[in-house]
């Protein structure tokens, strides 16, 4: 029924717009390169939803909207591969995924952006390590060579 078709379209476009917007916020505000990229993928998903909705609304027998989404997926795959390679290179250079480290392209006389305050990590909860049986002497643990990371 036509009313329903409009409702379908309306709902999907709303969800698409929201996905796009949330992805945009994520892209703008997150500092981790990879999380930024995830946000971009989310924006693409928002667009894909809208396209498919329009395809259905117009009852497009040629699947125009869906085709476009398919190519979006293909391009996203390329983009992901190249971006990932670049991220790896950046990470090898500086050992961090922080995007704010890469700001050399600013004008020469401009001051660098420096974070004002870094929220402290909450103190990790005390871990109850398993106790050794009484027969043995507890070995001296080398903090540099622990098998466990201190926290997840």
């Amino acid at each position: 029924m036509m009313e329903h078709e409009i409702a379908w379209l309306h709902n999907y476009l709303t969800v698409g717009a929201l996905l796009f917007g949330i992805g945009l916020i994520g892209f703008l505000s997150r500092r981790n390169l990879i999380v930024m990229f995830l946000a971009v993928e989310m924006m693409l998903q928002g667009v894909s939803l809208s396209l498919v909705a329009w395809c259905r609304f117009h009852n497009d027998g040629a699947f125009g909207g869906q085709m476009l989404v398919l190519f979006i997926i293909a391009v996203a795959a390329c983009e992901a591969a190249v971006a990932l390679a670049l991220f790896l290179m950046l990470f090898r250079r500086r050992g961090t995924l922080d995007i704010a480290v890469w700001q050399q392209l600013r004008e020469e006389d401009q001051p660098a952006y420096v974070d004002q305050q870094i929220p402290e990590l909450p103190e990790p909860a005390r871990t109850d390590w398993p106790k050794l049986p009484p027969a043995g002497v507890r070995p001296e643990a080398d903090p540099e060579r622990t098998d466990y990371r201190d926290h997840v």
Binding site: L24, F27, L28, S29, M36, I99, A100, W102, Q103, Q104, L105, R106, E107, D109, Q110, A112, Y113
Partner: protein
Amino acid sequence: MFDIKTLLIAIPALPLVATLVTAVFGRRVLRQRSHWPVVAAVAGSFLASLLLLNEVHKAAALEDSNQKVGYESVLALWTWAAVDNAYDLDDETDAQGSQTKDFRIDVTLRADPLSSIMLVAVTLVSLLVVIYSIGYMHDDPGYWRFFTYLGLFIFSMTMLVSVSNFVLLYVFWEAVGLCSYLLIGFWFQKREASAAGKKAFLVNRVGDFGFALGVFLLWTTYGTLDFHDTTTKDDGTVAVAMADDEVTTAGVLGQERLTEGNYKTGAVATAICLLLMLGACGKSAQFPLHVWLPDAMEGPTPVSALIHAATMVTAGVYMVARCSPLFFASTDAQHVVALIGGFTALMAALIALTQTDLKRILAYSTISQLGFMFLALGTGTLVGVVAAMFHLFTHAFFKGLLFLGAGSVMHAMGGVIDVRRFGGLRRLMPVTHWTFLFGSLALAGIIPFAGFYSKDTILLAVHAKEGAFYAVLYWTAVVTALLTAFYTFRAFFLTFYGDEQIPPEAGHHAHESPGAMVWPLRILAVASLLAGIVLYQWGSFDGFIRKTPSLDYLARQADLAAAEDAVAGHESVEHDAHFAVMAQSIVIAFLGVGLAAFFYLGDRKEIAAIARAMDRAGLYRLSHGKFYFDTIYKFLVVWPLEGIARLCYWIDRYVIDAAVDFCGMVPRALGASLRPLQSGLIQFYALAMVLGLLILIGSLLMCTL
């Protein structure tokens, strides 16, 4: 197999290819073998020129019965530029009834007696000079560069001679000028050499400017710049006109204009001729633009021989000869040409008397001889023009020979060229001595050497003209001939006779030059001896070169005049005059040689006495100081120009630059205010993009709703 068209293309193409090869591979691959491509190419060109001469000779002989004026064969290669409706015919219509004409430049080559004989002379001298250079330039660090430049020059010169169009003529006119500049300044580390190159270039600019104006005036006057006639075909293409094409556009020196004598007279003609003459003065070093040629001797001696004696400097003569119908239309212009030629000849000879630099003596001699040629051209008669070309031809040989000989001496003396510092070299350098003697005899005009015949024909031509003006010029020429014989043998005796004296710079070089240098001397010596007799006595040069269309035109005019004269019965008078002039010329030549022998083979005290006497009168200093032309130019031209340049510099620095700086300040200030936007933070840029997107969507929304 070797038809005229193939040969015409081959003659310039071979040196061009050689130039490219040498330019590309010379520095790294060929190195001390850089001469091979050029030698091979120029030898090929020379052979092609000979074949071309032969073909043209045969063809010209066949043409006799035809209606055409002279013989010419034009080869159109491609269209270089074309502008439709470029020329307004003011109230005239051409054969198609059109009010306007198209401007087009075709790359065309022509073969006629004048160009073919020039090509032979150019390529022969080039070949010998190139071979000579192998010995002269060996071990020079710029060996490959020298041969590249030489190849480029030979290409340009052959093109200059064979093009059939004023624009291309101008192009290659400039090209040879460029080569001249490059080669004068070949040893650019030497301050004098680079300054001389610059001077030559700048002085030539004055002449070339006049030449360019002349070409413009030609275009507006005649509506074409082609030498030959062209025809418009049905399909709109333009081609070289053949004999039976009906609709043709008359070229400046084309058949149609020549047969009808359709040349403008009066002020326009005089203006054209004078402007062209200005160009010729620059290139051929005539007064008042002669000052660059002596300084050009700073270049390597083969260059002096090839460019500044035998070929390039004669381009002016060639051009005036080629355009003789234009000059024929203006008596005033003829007078100017003759006056300049006569004056230059005398002046340069006077300067040459006292110079001590062997090459400069020869340079002033070249100026003087070129003056002779212009004097002959200034007569405006067929005899005169042919005489000028004849002298050009022979002069190329013996002046090339003299320069090469001087180079040989210079080579042996370790670069010393001052005649006061060496002497008595005849035993040390026998071949150079003998060949130099041949050249000197030819230059002095001793019978039966080539110079005698050509100079004699010039004197005859001038003598044949009536009127006080030409009478004065004739006696000037006679005096000049005397001076020529004197200074030539002065140089010869100072160099090769007297006590043997070798400057310390010579070192181990003080011996006869190597074979590559000696053999060209021998060949040129033979040419200097025989060229005159062979060509003059058999009359073949005269008869052949008259087949050139522009000269044939003169011949027809002369025939008309001769028909009138025949009534008056001048024939025998001329014949008598001929012998008189010849006798006079012989006597004068021997007189000059004798005087030189008297002064310079004998006791030097007499020279000193005369020199002191001359000095007291100020004459010696005047001559030795080259009539102070350089100083005069410095006061009249250089200093005012420098003043203007300083003024311009000041204006540029403090007015124009300040304005530009101010203009630059504005965006800089703008940029400074916007610079914080370039924060380098990627997310800031993304935010800016989003804001832009918002504005875009918002405005779209406003429009839609």
